[in-house]
């Protein structure tokens, strides 16, 4: 071979050597840097080379483990053997979790991957092995699995709780529905008319009975505000009566038609503290009113029919007593006087009954006239003077300091009311007792007051004192006379004049009755006419 050619070959060889050394250096550096623990094995599984990461992981220096079988650094030897066989048989990378044993005998769970090495001709020449410490990831995975399991259990618990809640809710819904249906059935079949207004004063419910009362259909009126309902011919009387704000009423009569009178009551519907609507109940009292009217008419007719003969009896007896019909004996006179008094009482009773019937017929008032209350009181006192003296009562009339204005009133009826009050005080106060009448007032009203030291009113009967035919149990015991109509009539007279009446009483200690009458501006206008 020529010398030049030889030199050229040597140079080429030198370059190849240098490149090989560079490559070796690169591989060493790369192997040292690689964080993954790797090693190469001979064809029979002997460790040929290891990198630094594997030294760090196992705690062995390379010199200590190179030349040893791979299985020496693992706890489960057979698994390594199987993995090597499998990698070679299947010619692909095989991975398994196997416990590694470190130099300090610590066991580390590792993921071991093994793949076969081949030369350029494709012949098997050994293995490459990578080892990853999966202790932390395994722990993390286990912890995660545990947490997932716990969370799953929690969720299952929550799910169960939710199902229970749903069941409870469903049950509650069913109960509410049943309750609602029951309530609806009650409302529908209720003999009274019912209307429910919501908080915006819109009609939210009307039951069939109310539909009949007003001749309306639910679908045409529900949802309408009460002010709108005043335009509905059927509901107009009620809507007007209740007003836009739906005033609170209790058992107020309302005549819808000639043959339909309803007793109207309103009740606020509350949820906790909040008012969420108004219930209007309508009780048909047409029949009761008719019966009452018939009764009143009957009493009225009867009283009228009785009063004429009683008047005739009265004047006949008067004539007998006055000797207009001839001389009578003393004994005859006594009998006739008793008969006269009884007749007088009967006339008074008949008059009371007539007053009551007039009150009930609404024909009671009145014959208005401007009058002085003081003179009326004085007149009544004068008429009862004899009786007061006979009963030896200490009677006092305290007149107003300033002269009271004349007020517009039915003189006869106010007189009757005052008479009833003074008569009761005189009649039910024991001899030597006190009766005091006071009269006063201010710019707005006149106030009448009568105080006695009489029998008083039993506590449990106070609420019935102004009702028809009522007489206190203690009064019945001491005095057989009296119709029980006086205070009923009095109350109606005072209220018909726009006044108020009330009392304070203690049984055995006495009573005080009060009434007021308003002094209205219109009276002053009225005055101007005179």
């Amino acid at each position: 071979m020529p010398e030049e050619k030889l030199t050229e070959i040597e140079k080429e060889l030198q370059r190849a050597k240098e490149e090989l050394e560079t490559l070796q250096g690169y591989i060493e550096e790369f192997s040292t840097f690689l964080p993954l623990a790797v090693c190469s094995l001979s064809g029979i599984g002997i460790i040929i080379s290891v990198n630094k990461a594997l030294e760090d992981l196992t705690g062995h220096k390379s010199i200590e483990i190179i030349g040893k079988p791979l299985e020496d650094i693992f706890l489960e030897k057979k698994k390594i053997d199987d993995l090597l066989k499998k990698a070679q048989e299947e010619e692909k990378t095989e991975t398994k979790e196997i416990f590694l044993i470190t130099k300090t005998r610590k066991e580390i769970l590792a993921s071991v991957a093994i793949s076969v090495r081949k030369d350029l001709e494709g012949n098997f020449i050994g293995y490459f092995v990578s080892i990853i410490d999966i202790t932390e990831s395994k722990k993390f995975r286990e912890e995660l699995e545990k947490r997932v399991k716990e969370r799953t259990l929690e969720l299952e618990g929550t799910k169960e709780a939710l199902i229970n809640m749903l069941e409870d809710t469903e049950q509650a819904r069913r109960r509410a529905e049943e309750e609602s249906n029951r309530t609806l059935a009650i409302i529908t079949n209720f003999t009274d008319g019912l209307l429910v207004f919501d908080r915006e004063k819109k009609l939210s419910l009307i039951n069939p009975q109310a539909e009949i009362f007003f001749g309306v259909k639910s679908e045409n009126v529900v949802g309408q505000p009460i002010l709108e309902l005043t335009k509905n011919p059927g509901l107009e009387p009620l809507a007007s009566f209740l007003g836009g704000e739906i005033k609170g009423v209790f058992r107020k009569e309302l005549q819808i038609q000639e043959n339909l009178i309803l007793e109207v009551s309103t009740v606020p519907i509350q949820r906790e503290e909040e008012i969420i609507g108004t219930l209007v109940t309508l009780h048909d009292i047409t029949r009761e009113k008719m019966v009452e009217k018939m009764k009143t008419e009957f009493v009225s007719i009867s009283a009228h029919q009785l009063r004429t003969p009683l008047s005739a009896i009265k004047w006949t007896l008067r004539m007998l007593l006055d000797g207009d019909l001839g001389e009578i004996t003393g004994e005859q006179k006594d009998f006739i006087e008793k008969t006269y008094k009884s007749n007088e009482r009967m006339i008074t009773l008949i008059n009371d009954l007539l007053n009551v019937t007039r009150i009930e017929e609404g024909k009671h008032l009145y014959k208005p006239a401007l009058a002085s209350i003081e003179s009326i009181v004085q007149s009544v006192i004068n008429s009862l003077k004899e009786e007061i003296q006979r009963r030896k009562l200490k009677f006092e009339f305290i007149k107003p300091k300033k002269k009271l204005p004349l007020i517009r009133m039915d003189v006869e009826k106010i007189g009757l009311a005052i008479q009833n009050l003074i008569e009761n005080a005189v009649r039910y106060t024991e001899p030597e007792g006190k009766v005091k009448v006071s009269l006063g007032g201010d710019k707005k009203e006149i106030k009448f007051e009568i105080e006695d030291t009489g029998v008083g009113i039993p506590e449990n009967q106070k609420d019935r004192i102004f009702t028809k035919f009522f007489r206190g149990a203690n009064v019945i015991r001491m005095e057989t006379e009296g119709s029980g109509l006086g205070l009923f009539i009095t109350k109606n007279i005072i209220e018909a004049h726009g006044g108020k009446i009330w009392f304070e009483s203690e049984e055995g200690r006495g009573s005080t009755f009060f009434f007021t009458l308003p002094i209205k501006k219109e009276f002053e206008e009225f005055l101007k006419e005179f």
């Binding site: 050597k17 190469s40 029979i44 599984g45 010199i63 030349g67 079988p69 050994g126």
Partner: protein
């Protein structure tokens, strides 16, 4: 001074031995000392080399380059003297040498099976030494033994010890057994025509 200290004359005589060796063999010596004795050991070794007046800088050695084969003997002798190592230690160095060898790692295809490995040993030898040759000896798998013969390689007795360890390691790479033994059954320095190593395993 230790009594077995080498003389300048002996060194000079060694330098007359012909033949070449791959730089990788020095690299394995260097790594072994470094591993066993650390930088202190390396410093001591450098001082000893300087003392001997030999030009051997391990860090500048190129693994694929050819170097005089006598330098191989000097490297082992200087290590032995520097650290007062006995034959057993040198044998261990030989045993560990393949572990540090990049060349060994790249020649794994030769160690696929016992039969193939033995068959390939002459080529393997040629890649390391220009003197001497390996004769693949008979393999008796039944008796679990193999014979390795090294011929025409009468350089220095320290190499007999070194190769005892070295061949054992190669055997360990190719024979899957935990109990592999090696024995130099013939030695040229004992008048035999070649070196013969008997490898047994269980």
């Amino acid at each position: 001074m230790a009594k077995n200290q080498i003389t300048k004359e002996e060194i000079k005589k060694l330098m007359e031995i012909p033949g070449k060796v791959r730089g990788v063999v020095f690299k394995t010596d260097f790594e072994y000392v470094k591993e066993k004795l650390g930088n202190e050991g390396l410093t001591l070794l450098k001082e000893k080399i300087k003392e001997w007046g030999v030009s051997l800088d391990y860090e500048k050695i190129k693994i694929t380059e050819w170097y005089p084969v006598w330098l191989r003997i000097i490297s082992l002798l200087v290590i032995k003297e520097a650290f007062s190592w006995d034959d057993k230690k040198i044998e261990d160095l030989g045993n560990c040498a393949p572990k540090y060898s990049f060349v060994v790692a790249t020649l794994m295809r030769h160690f696929l099976s016992l039969e193939k490995s033995i068959k390939e040993t002459p080529k393997y030898w040629e890649k390391h030494y220009t003197v001497g040759e390996i004769e693949p000896g008979p393999i008796n798998e039944k008796e679990k033994l193999v014979v390795i013969r090294l011929k025409n390689f009468k350089l220095h007795p320290i190499l007999c010890v070194f190769f005892k360890g070295y061949f054992l390691r190669i055997s360990q790479y190719i024979i899957k057994s935990r109990k592999i033994t090696i024995e130099e059954t013939k030695c040229m320095f004992k008048g035999d025509p070649y070196h013969e190593y008997l490898v047994r395993w269980k």
